[in-house]
């Protein structure tokens, strides 16, 4: 009794120690290095960087190691670190037309200027478990053969969407030069700008966006999408330095960019045009980028006078539930003690039940009394009849 709520300090310290032991695992095996995670768990690192909103493969790998591979926990670790970082400005818009592409595909044209480059993808691996990976590399006869270097498209490669735009077949992107809102600095207000929506989706949970994007394909806000273009590779990040009066290149980051081409809209006055949805993620987070583009398009319902009827079109619903750091925290806060609320509920439910029991009891008593009275009256009546009969006899 009462001990259950005491000793919190000791319990937490012991729990932290135990966690550290569990994380390390079997000490007969060599400890996993952050460099290994970074090099060999590349897609996990990319997801953690994307949803953690920090481009730093080393810290993302560290977070994955620390979180025992729980990516949502790793994302949280990175986010909590991120808030402590000073912010000295915003970079110039990424020029993805100049991307050093390692992969580039379009589902809309058989061939496009710059070509189709498959790059490394799981798409055609046939998903057979490769049991040879069970053995260590030496037993298998060394590292895999170096990939043959495909002729990567170099320099400026125009987007597929710009080819459609030349013919006026796809909407021209609305260019808004005003300073975009920053969702990490101010609470969002609805309706939100597209810039704010894209910020939210970019750091949104992959699973959540995947499910929502999927729902649009199954008829909930249907808008037939074509993968106009998926391109992945390195892009330069530049920053305009006031002191120098010039833009300087800070370095290069890996991104995956997706442009969907969606069913056309239009009216009697406006000629039909294709519309688009946009997705961008760090590294090779391709599934995430495609799902993001589907949801971005669904959220643009108002722009195309589409009825908002499906969950994926409901801006406040999507944006306020997409963040897995928020969602995971609140869902898991149910583990915290709620003795007090529960005690209040117990008190209330017992009182309500007692009141109802008392009422039923009273009603039953009244019924019983009425029944007895009726029976008595009946027997009295029978008695009287009997006496009359006797008298007559």
């Amino acid at each position: 009794m009462y001990v259950a709520v005491k000793g919190g300090e000791k319990a937490i310290a012991a729990s932290c120690d135990r966690l550290a032991t569990e994380r390390r695992g079997d000490t007969d095996l060599a400890e996993l290095s952050v460099a290994q995670v970074r090099a060999q768990m590349r897609l996990a690192v990319d997801r953690v960087m994307t949803e953690g909103s920090v481009y730093d493969p080393e810290l993302a790998a560290l977070a994955i190691k620390q979180a025992q591979g729980d990516l949502v926990e790793a994302i949280f670790l990175l986010r909590a670190y991120r808030t402590t970082l000073p912010r000295f400005g915003y970079c110039a818009p990424l020029d993805t037309v100049r991307m050093q592409m390692t992969r580039r595909i379009s589902a809309t044209f058989k061939d496009v200027p710059g070509g189709q480059v498959l790059g490394g993808t799981y798409d055609y691996t046939q998903r057979l478990l490769d049991f040879s990976l069970l053995a260590d590399a030496q037993a298998r006869g060394g590292a895999p053969a170096a990939a043959t270097q495909a002729a990567e498209p170099a320099g400026v490669v125009p987007r597929v969407s710009s080819l459609l735009a030349d013919e006026g077949l796809i909407e021209a992107p609305a260019i808004d030069m005003s300073e975009p809102a920053d969702l990490t600095r101010a609470a969002p207000r609805y309706p939100a700008s597209r810039a704010l929506r894209l910020q939210n989706l970019a750091r949104g949970d992959e699973g959540f966006l995947l499910a929502l994007g999927y729902s649009t394909q199954r008829g909930y806000a249907h808008n037939h999408p074509f993968a106009g273009e998926i391109r992945a590779g390195g892009v330069a990040v530049s920053f305009f330095a006031e002191e120098l009066g010039a833009e300087i290149e800070l370095g290069e980051i890996e991104v995956t960019e997706v442009e969907m081409v969606n069913q056309f809209g239009g009216s009697k006055e406006v000629a039909p045009q294709f519309t688009s949805g946009y997705g961008l993620a760090f590294g090779g987070a391709e599934r995430k980028a495609i799902a993001m583009a589907l949801v971005d398009r669904a959220l643009r319902a108002d722009e195309f006078s589409e009825e908002r009827s499906a969950p994926a079109q409901h801006e406040e619903f999507v944006l306020s539930h997409s963040d897995n750091v928020e969602a995971s925290g609140f869902v898991q806060h149910l583990k915290l003690p709620h003795y007090v609320d529960f005690q209040s509920e117990l008190e209330l439910i017992r009182r309500l039940r007692a009141e109802i029991d008392a009422r039923i009891e009273t009603e039953k008593a009244a019924e019983k009394a009425a029944g007895e009275a009726a029976a008595q009256a009946k027997s009295l009546g029978a008695d009287a009849e009997k006496r009359i009969e006797e008298g007559a006899a």
Partner: protein, 302 residues
Amino acid sequence: MSAVFDSPVQSTGPLAGYNFAYLDEATKRMIRRAILKAVALPGHQVPFGSREMPLPFGWGTGGIQVTASIIGADDTLKVIDQGSDETTNAVNIRGFFHKVTAVATTTDTTRASIVQTRHRVPETPLTEKQILVFQVPQPEPLYRLEPNRAEARKLHAMGDYGLMQVKLYEDITRFGDIAHSYDYPVLVNGRYLMSPSPIPKFDNPKLNRSRALMLFGAGREKRIYAVPPFTEVKSLDFDDYPFGIEKWPQHCALCGARDSFLDEVIIDDAGTREYVCSDSDYCHQRRDLNESAADDSEGGVV
């Protein structure tokens, strides 16, 4: 790891590499602005640029950000969860602040200048020298009735709280009573409907004309609101169904209190119940008092 939770009162200086109280000064200023606005508009939810904290959303990040932005080196902090200083979450948050501020911490309600709480208001009345910081999971009192926050904002702007009145009325027709036992809606200063956070309705009367400033932080929902000292806080009710608080036929098994909120504890396999104060400090103080009273009376006999 255990160093984090070492002797809470011992002061060794704040954590190297981090600003005092974790948040940078610009962020603290932004939060203090939101607090000032909230104090000027009692019960009104003020949006703020809530930050990710090293503790999870839903575990007190709103209260932590409020405390971090008002705490100074001279403050004495008390942290409670479910009324107790000893629950793991309270211990963890107290440990966090001790680590990043090195301020003195206490479990004694009367000695604290700031009390951060989840789900309770201390039994010991607070004074005008104290600030009570609430951790709020859901700042919008209308959220069960109108989940769309943009719509709910309009209802607040118009002071249109018919939805809530109808909900309470329906409770009475269905259950014979208002079926809210915690997070019981209140009207602040006759203007804004407010969630008092999930405190039991037992604590609602303590909010009315409180001497202490009360600040409410909702980190995940990015809202701050406040009840300034001596402000009217009215629990919604009807003339023929007046507001009432929880009552127990039992008294605290440890200190004998009849006036405090009691937690029910199941103490054996046969389901035997015992009731003890939810406010651990209040219970300790009363037990100390009882003991010294007992000592005194013994002394009297001799």
